[in-house]
């Protein structure tokens, strides 16, 4: 039985929701807009909201100074690699906790989360020394490993909650039909959990993409992702609002677009088992 919604109420809701949505989005809108202005227009008083001569000059300047595609590619590889690796390790772990729980399952989950509490700056030296020792500095492999480990607890937890939603009866039915463990995971469990796995992948990819401490401190020229790209545009000499905006837009655009396309998936899937 659907609730009857009066048109008046819908109009009010629409106005409120749009106002808030636009307010929240404004900083991003303003950044994208400013990236198409000249430096002088960027600090114009009063601010220019739409009507000005749009220019691509800032993008050209930024591209000339640093090869965007290389940073972008590193970001894709590092965020993607750490996500894939994390998922591969997390699925079996989450499966075993969800379907063969023991008394310690809850403790293990909370302990995994607690590994995220060590502040990164506190272990900068230990990790750097390890990286030097194993020649991992400025390699994508090293970063993939670190980001995978950082986000693994979140992945395991998310998958665990999705798996828990799956009725055990189905698994038992499959077992009756003679399915082994491998078949059970591959053909029964995974298809049912695909929406959950997809949103886990998405969230993890976003987190890895935006990680800015290790990606900056453990890279130089070869493996530097977009977080390092942006680090050369904060406060150079003179006016820089427009160039900063262009660089910022370039850094966030790929993930923003990805996020927008998969928005439904994220909204549906991001529950951490909160829905009960």
């Amino acid at each position: 039985m659907a609730r009857a919604v009066t048109t008046r109420r819908k109009v009010i809701t629409t106005a409120a929701a749009w106002a808030i949505g636009l307010l929240i989005f404004f900083p991003i809108y303003w950044t994208i807009l400013t990236s198409f202005k000249t430096e002088a227009q960027a600090i114009n008083d009063p601010p220019l909201f739409f009507f000005f001569d749009w220019t691509l000059e800032n993008y050209a300047v930024v591209q000339e100074r640093s090869d965007y595609m290389r940073f972008l590619w590193n970001s894709v590889i590092i965020a993607g690699g750490s996500t894939v690796l994390g998922i591969l390790i997390a699925i079996p772990a989450a499966w075993s906790m969800a379907f063969v729980p023991s008394r310690r399952t809850k403790d293990i989950l909370l302990w995994m989360l607690s590994t995220k509490m060590l502040p990164a700056v506190g272990v900068l030296y230990p990790i750097s020394l390890i990286f030097v020792e194993f020649n991992l500095l400025d390699t994508r492999g090293g970063l993939i490993a670190v980001l995978m480990l950082i986000n693994l607890p979140i992945i395991v937890w998310m998958l665990y909650t999705y798996f828990k939603e799956i009725p055990v009866d189905i698994l038992e039915a499959a077992r009756m039909d003679g399915a082994g463990l491998r078949e059970e995971i591959l053909y029964v469990l995974t298809p049912m959990a695909i929406p959950g796995i997809a949103s886990t992948i998405l969230l993890n990819f976003i987190l890895a993409w935006n990680e800015a401490f290790w990606t900056l401190n453990l890279t130089a020229a070869q493996a530097a992702p977009l977080t390092a790209f942006i680090a050369s545009y904060s406060s150079p000499e003179g006016l820089f609002f427009a160039k900063l905006s262009a660089a910022s837009t370039m850094a966030i655009a790929p993930i923003l677009i990805l996020g927008w396309f998969s928005q439904k998936q994220l909204v549906r899937g991001l529950t951490f088992g909160a829905v009960k």
């Binding site: 772990a93 996020g259 909204v267």
Partner: protein
């Protein structure tokens, strides 16, 4: 139902994740603990190869007795607490609003979750320069438009500014989780309550909020873990001045600016202790929600 066979298989499957995380936790933690009892000033020529001097608990005592320590704990708690309150309260309201039928739902949702995709460095840079700059920032223009004196946000309202920036980044996350929880709310239950004459406030208090408690718990738990270690937002905007030096930032200053690894490591150990106190505190208050 779980056979012995599947039990051992389960352990085997859990093993890689546990072993990796155990290594990821223990190796740096052991090194941090080791350094924290040593004099380790790389700028003075100390290095692992040459051996480090044992100094006992000196680093711990020094870190604790520094005049910056307690203010930094306070700043950490204020910022984390402030962001939690704002994101949870606004997140609940926003989720309820977005759950209503209205035109352009898809687009508005996209607008609302967009900040979550922005990397912290970029969001800090954008807020600091484009919005909060007291001369050319958009807020300064707005203030001047209404005839008010522009505010120097990052010096006069520094802690509030940081809370605002971080809340902006995390509000989408809270909203998303709360929205999925609200969507699972049985609308018939609400209607029944409405027919019984319960006013909106009562409906919210007795039906919606209890239903959301588990989701709120999770928002608080996950956000706390991330918020305790926020760094880029402070590094870019205030650099730790004007009362925004959190414990994480204080450790950064000890390790990077002062190049005192021993002292910074002792600070790292304190940070772990603080994080665990907060975690235990959280579990006590809200943890029972997780067990349902």
């Amino acid at each position: 139902m779980a056979t012995r066979h599947s039990r051992s298989a389960a352990r085997l499957m859990l093993a890689p994740a546990v072993i990796l995380l155990l290594g990821w936790m223990l190796v740096p933690l052991t090194m941090t603990l080791y350094f924290s009892f040593k004099r380790y000033l790389p700028m003075r020529g100390d290095s692992l190869e040459r051996g480090l001097d044992w100094v006992g608990f000196e680093n711990y005592a020094r870190f604790l007795s520094s005049s910056s320590f307690w203010p930094s704990v306070q700043a950490t708690l204020v910022i984390v607490g402030g962001v939690l309150v704002i994101t949870v309260v606004l997140g609940v309201l926003l989720a309820m609003l977005l759950d209503q039928p209205f035109w352009g739902q898809g687009i508005v949702r996209i607008l609302v979750i967009a900040p979550f995709f922005v990397m912290p460095t970029v969001s800090a840079l954008v807020w600091k320069n484009m919005l909060m700059d007291p001369i050319n920032g958009i807020l300064a223009h707005l203030w001047r438009f209404f005839g008010a004196e522009p505010v120097s946000w990052l010096s006069d309202a520094s802690v509030q500014s940081i809370i605002l920036i971080v809340s902006w980044q995390w509000l989408p996350f809270a909203t998303l989780i709360l929205l999925t929880a609200i969507q699972s709310l049985d609308s018939e239950q609400l209607e029944a309550a409405e027919m019984d004459g319960a006013n909106p406030l009562a409906r919210f208090g007795f039906i919606v909020l209890p239903h959301l408690s588990r989701a709120i718990t999770i928002v608080i738990l996950i956000q706390t873990i991330f918020l305790l270690s926020i760094f880029a937002e402070i590094f870019v905007t205030t650099g730790g001045s004007f009362g925004t030096r959190t414990l994480t930032y204080l450790i950064f200053q000890r390790v990077i600016d002062s190049q005192n690894i021993g002292l910074g490591s002792a600070g790292g150990v304190y940070a772990i202790i603080l994080a665990n106190i907060v975690a235990i505190f959280l579990m006590r208050i809200v943890g029972k929600n997780l067990d349902r």
